[in-house]
């Protein structure tokens, strides 16, 4: 008999787990409680023991894939076959409830016009409808509102709702009782669009949007829809810094450090942030306060094995160039090998997006929300430049900065980047500012 092992919630409230490594393969025999797979969640990396003795019939999620809680992780053909089978996965009747729940994504706020719907946060994945009674639509209201409706003899289900998540408010009830159809004073604060459906057409592949890709998508759209982005680009003459780095490379190598340009850029940016505190800030939307941070945790955005990852150099203002180089290298390795901890991937106050040789000429980087600034570092190459009236070959590099115009004016942004440019073009000034 086939036993379906559903991905359990192995922390308190985790929604998915990444498969780190299978310890068995399809066709293998497993004993009861034998460790079969290592799974990483937001909270912990743990081994899952087999809930049945038998043979591994089918592995649904492979190494590196994300398995949502409640999905069938593996099917085990039970030895002996005496145990009763789990409910067949295809048995779910198609009702509006199961369809909505089967979407597997947290439900958005239920609009008031479709109050009969049910939010899906409690269950992920496919569900089985045990009992469907044609009851009246559920009405959301506080006990005080229910009491009011009862006193006024009003059936709550008939009152148009204006409250959060489609809740009927006391004002709605009074307005309805006074003869109006709605007492609506609350206005919708956000515009929402119906989800864009893409009709099937031609040779296509459909990849579920989930895991890291989903998080990137959510974060990027939130940033673009919230921050008022503007981008400013400046060219930096790196020739002097090239010479400095060349001289320091040997000393760095003696200490086992690979010295790139990035630590110098971090140093210059931190120096600029100290001078222009508006750029090392966030907007607390709840309290309508600008939070200026006196700590400097610099995010380094780079391509990881699963997509974009921002590793965080903590307290970058208190680190030497060698220390920065070592930390950047260590974090880069951690991202590549998937061993970076949550702390190493969160908490930045300003971000640098470094594409190295793929840096191109200019970009419009998207801010790592809720920060207010991001600097894109472009490819450094030798180009003709005019120095003292002569055309000479110089090492030139562009920096593109995107800023949130809600908090940062063009003046501050431009002055910041000019300061960074000045420090990089004359590295001796950078050392003057070092702690």
């Amino acid at each position: 008999m086939a036993f379906s092992f559903y991905m359990p919630d192995i922390g308190e409230g985790v929604v998915e787990g990444e498969i780190v490594a299978w310890k068995v393969k399809e066709g293998d025999t497993v004993a009861l409680d034998q460790p079969i797979v290592e799974v990483m969640t937001d909270k912990a990396t743990v081994e899952l023991p087999s809930p049945r003795a038998g043979t591994i019939a089918k592995i649904n999620y492979h190494d590196g894939q994300i398995c949502p809680v409640g999905q069938v992780l593996v099917v085990i053909e039970e030895a002996g076959g005496a145990s009763k089978a789990a409910a067949p996965a295809a048995a779910a009747p198609a009702t509006h409830v199961s369809t909505q729940l089967a979407a597997g994504l947290p439900a958005t706020a239920t609009p008031s016009s479709t109050r009969g719907g049910m939010t899906a946060t409690a269950f992920q994945g496919k569900v089985e409808v045990v009992d469907l009674t044609a009851g009246r639509a559920r009405v959301l209201a506080t006990p005080a509102t229910r009491r009011l409706a009862r006193q006024l003899g009003i059936e709550l289900g008939r009152v148009p709702a204006t409250g959060k998540h489609g809740r009927v408010t006391s004002a709605d009830v009074r307005g309805f009782g006074a003869g109006g159809t709605s007492s609506s004073t609350a206005l919708a604060t956000t515009t929402s669009y119906a989800p864009m459906a893409i009709a099937a057409g031609g040779d296509e592949e459909r990849i579920p949007l989930r895991g890291i890709r989903k998080r990137i998508a959510d974060n990027m759209s939130r940033s673009v829809h919230t921050a008022a982005h503007f981008t400013y680009v400046e060219e930096v003459d790196m020739t002097d810094l090239v010479a400095v780095r060349e001289r320091a490379k040997g000393r760095a190598a003696d200490r086992g450090v690979k010295l790139t340009y990035l630590p110098f850029i971090v140093k210059a940016i931190v120096s600029g942030l100290k001078k222009w505190p508006a750029l090392n800030a966030s907007l607390d939307e709840a309290t309508q306060e600008i939070v200026r941070k006196r700590y400097y945790h610099v995010g380094i955005a780079a391509q990881g094995p699963q997509g974009l990852a921002v590793s965080v150099v903590r307290d970058a203002d208190r680190r030497s160039i060698f220390d920065l180089a070592r930390e950047i290298e260590r974090l880069g390795d951690a991202v590549r090998t998937g061993t970076a901890t949550r702390d190493e991937l969160t908490g930045s106050t300003f971000t640098i997006s470094s594409l190295g040789k793929l840096g191109g000429v200019l970009a419009t980087p998207i801010i790592n929300f809720p920060e207010v600034g991001i600097v894109g570092v472009h490819e450094m190459k030798q180009k003709p430049a005019v120095v003292d009236g002569q055309i000479v070959a110089r090492w030139l590099m562009n920096l593109s900065i995107s800023l949130d115009h809600r908090l940062v004016d063009g003046w501050d942004g431009a002055m910041f980047l000019q300061d960074v440019k000045a420090l990089l073009e004359d590295p001796t000034t950078m050392f003057m500012e070092m702690v």
Binding site: Y6, I10, G11, K43, G70, A87, E128, V129, P143
Partner: protein, 385 residues
């Protein structure tokens, strides 16, 4: 003849006891100098019983962790490495006493007679659960054996223990002692101060026991307090303190017994620190490899293991040969397996029970909500057991 280790330890002043460490068996299960006479008075049945209780906790915990990873129960916190402190303290209690646990004392309940079935019913939150499935798994209660339900809120239970003791004295129940447990983390809370102060001032019949396992989730003891030992804190409150090796079941028993005897004799409250180590993760939601050196943990898992220590001593006396040990382990495994099978077969509590126990009579609002709830389509996830 050398003075007995017990006489020497209890002859120390408060400061000496709070800085010292009472130990009967060393890490390799050999009697420490001066403990031989007391050990000679230990009978076989008692020693075997202590070992069996410790092994039951270990076997149960291991099975529960596996069930959690299989999605069959929602949450678990094991007591791996702390079995001696738990069983030692339980053995020092009498049936009429009250146990007010922190989070790693379910084993105290089991030792006092809470059935495995009752314990598992709470973990499954099924219809047989005395708390009707309302608590996080691993939060048992057992009224018949005076085991009070635990709260996940750190240290809120310590004032309860002192309050229970004060109430019992007012009621004239002179032979009942309240055992209030806490972890090392709990001793940094305001409630700890409140409880210690009232315990000292009221001289109520209670024993406040800290299982110092050196980790409050990810906070190490060194970041928890600047005090040299936790037991030293008791002195400021005017409470006698005893500090014992929590991985030595005999020392744990003697320390708690001493405190309980004092309380029962009208001598008031006292404080016991049992020094041990949390070998496991804090709970099934925790991953200690992210914040501590697991090389250290291996020492506690290996040479300092409390079961190994007692087993070596028992074996040395010819009281627990390898064959007997294996038979005992197999019996306990079977007990747990059978209890799991029974409790997995019990259904969930009836939906209507979620409205119980709020008011003596349900209000119109509750009746209306219940009617609405019962009219609503019911769904359940197929992986729910």
């Amino acid at each position: 003849m050398a003075a007995s280790i017990l006489d020497r330890y209890f002859a120390l002043d408060d400061d000496g006891r709070a800085r010292g460490l009472l130990r009967v068996l060393d890490e390799d299960g050999a009697p420490v100098a001066g403990a031989e006479a007391w050990l000679a008075s230990v009978d076989r049945a008692l020693a075997r019983r202590l070992y069996e209780d410790m092994l039951r906790i270990r076997v149960t915990d291991a099975r529960m962790m596996a069930l959690q990873r299989q999605g069959r129960i929602g949450f678990y916190g094991e007591a791996l490495g702390q079995e001696a402190a738990i069983v030692g303290a339980a053995a020092a209690s009498q049936p009429q006493d009250w146990i007010v646990p922190a989070l790693r004392e379910a084993g105290v309940g089991l030792c006092r007679g809470m059935s495995l079935d009752s314990y598992l019913a709470q973990i499954y939150g099924n219809a047989a659960d005395p708390t009707k499935g309302r608590q996080l798994p691993c939060h048992p209660c057992d009224q018949p054996h005076h085991y009070v339900v635990m709260s996940s809120c750190v240290s809120t239970q310590i004032p309860h223990a002192v309050g229970i003791a004060m109430a019992m004295r007012l009621a004239g129940k002179g032979d009942e002692v309240a055992f209030g447990f806490m972890g090392d983390g709990g001793t940094s809370s305001g409630e700890f101060h409140v409880a210690m102060n009232f315990a000292g001032v009221s001289r109520a019949p209670c024993v406040l026991i800290c299982q110092n396992n050196q980790w409050a989730i990810s906070t190490p003891g060194s970041a928890q307090t600047a005090a040299e030992t936790i037991a030293l804190k008791a002195i400021g409150y005017g409470l006698p303190a005893v500090r014992a090796d929590g991985n030595d079941v005999f020392a744990s028993y003697l320390a708690v017994k001493h405190a309980a005897d004092l309380a029962r004799a009208g001598g008031g409250a006292s404080f016991v620190e049992l020094l041990t180590y949390r070998v496991s993760a804090h709970s099934s939601s925790d991953d200690p490899s992210r914040y501590r050196d697991e090389g250290v943990t291996e020492i506690w898992r290996g040479r300092r293991d409390p079961l190994r220590r007692l087993r070596t001593w028992l074996d040395g006396r010819g009281w627990l040969a390898a064959g007997e040990h294996d038979a005992l382990a197999a019996r306990l495994e079977a007990e747990v397996r059978d209890a799991i099978a029974r409790q997995e077969a019990v259904g969930m509590p009836a939906l209507a029970t979620i409205f119980d126990d709020v008011y003596e009579e349900p209000t119109w609002l509750q009746r209306e909500q219940l009617a609405e709830l019962e009219a609503w389509p019911r769904v359940r996830a197929p992986h729910a057991h």
